[in-house]
Amino acid sequence: MWTWFHRLASPPTFYRLADRFAPWFGIAATGLLAYGIVGGLFFAPADYQQSDAFRIIYIHVPAAALSLSIYMLMASAALVAVIWRIKLAECVLVSAAPIGASFTALALVTGMLWGKPMWGAYWVWDARLTSELILLFLYAGVIGLNQAIEDPRAAARACGLLALIGVINVPIVHYSVEWWNSLHQGSTILKMGKPSMNADMAQPLYACLLGVYFFMGYVLLRRTQNELLLRERGTAWVKERLESSNV
């Protein structure tokens, strides 16, 4: 198992594997998102209370779920990068941060657009909103730190340490702002037992959720490949690749 792990962590092997998997991730993401968004925006029944405004859920909830998942993924990569100093983990770490920041920003913007008609304000100082905003700042810190340090390996390790301290901080931030103030509705789909949502509404949402995860996989693989090429530009396997693809 460990030899397999080490082989996977070597840049050329990962690059080849990513090349094989990325297109499938892309296809799955396109299909699921097309079904989810078309089904959600045009065919799902309107909510009895929020009417058509609830449809932002098909963008907002997947984006919010990803914003946290990517942080977890980034922190796991950070742990591997800091402890075992695996180059691939460093690449994953720095490639994941901008994706996470984009989804966090998307979740915030869609939430604000929904908040105006529903709560009567674009922004309220609510627990979930505030912790999401702070998450965006944490991503921004990682991106800024990575760009400020010249040596890419030292930069990635510094970002790794920051991401790890950040991940310990995220639950503290979450509970501190939650006790401070909360207005956001509870989770609808992750409740135990029967979901409090109609199946016609829920199915496109599940498709969107799964779809954005595939999309993230696709983008992350491609970004990591780019990062690897950039860092390994002096090595033999990159030259071989360039020659074989006739660029």
Binding site: I134, G144, L161, I165, G166
Partner: protein
């Protein structure tokens, strides 16, 4: 172990004694920031007292931020830090001593200074113990997180702009609980619960951040 800790602490304090302006400036900065809040509001506005916890906390935070860039910079530039890493003593211990010295020179004075400043904003004097206790528990966390961030950015030419971006999101719980304790005490209730949370965060920070700071410093040398 204790000897090394005491030696580093003594060195830091002696260095500070030769450069008094360096640690007196943040205190003046704090006074000026709070004064400007008073000047920005209408004269003797009673609302200022309501906002006093937020003003005093954010002011202390900004004043502490000013000093962070210098925390490891001088030692990094003149090679002291390199010697510390070459030595046999645990780096974490040296880092912890430096952080303690930093807190004694900035955090503690800022916490004490908040008491007279709070009465300038019309903050109720009965709540001052909660405010000062909150700052006394919160400023060491600022020093710990700030020390970690300044270790990450040590040797960078643009560290000054990056530092606030790294530090401020991490200290939000401290501000919430610290200003919360002052607010609760001001409304005549018992502010102990948020103070316990602050103490818990401080203990967590003490057990994690000196090690993380040492790792970040080591990373800057490789």
């Amino acid at each position: 172990m204790i000897q090394i800790f005491a030696a580093v602490l003594r060195r830091e304090l002696r260095l500070a004694a030769t450069a008094k302006t360096e640690w007196l400036m943040p205190l003046f900065f704090y006074v000026i920031v709070v004064t400007l809040f008073g000047l920005g509001a209408t004269p003797n506005d009673p609302k200022l007292a309501e906002f006093a916890p937020a003003i005093l906390w954010v002011g202390a935070l900004l004043a502490a931020l000013l000093t962070l860039e210098r925390l490891f910079r001088a030692d990094f530039e003149d090679g002291t830090l390199e010697q510390i890493f070459l030595g046999t003593q645990p780096v974490t211990l040296v880092v912890a001593a430096k952080l303690l010295a930093h807190w004694l020179l900035t955090g503690l004075p800022l916490a004490l200074l908040a008491a007279p400043l709070s009465s300038a904003l019309g903050f109720s004097s009965a709540a001052i113990p909660a405010l000062v206790a909150g700052l006394a528990l919160g400023t060491p966390v600022l020093t710990l997180i700030g020390g970690f961030a300044s270790a990450l950015t040590v040797g960078l030419p643009r560290a000054g702009v990056l530092l606030p971006l790294l530090v401020l999101p991490l200290v939000t719980p401290v501000v919430i609980f610290g200003a919360g304790a002052a607010r609760v005490a001001q409304s005549g209730l018992d502010g102990a619960a948020p103070l316990y949370f602050l103490a818990a965060i401080l203990v967590l920070g003490l057990t994690l951040l000196p090690w993380a700071t040492a790792a970040a410093l080591r990373n800057a040398f490789e």
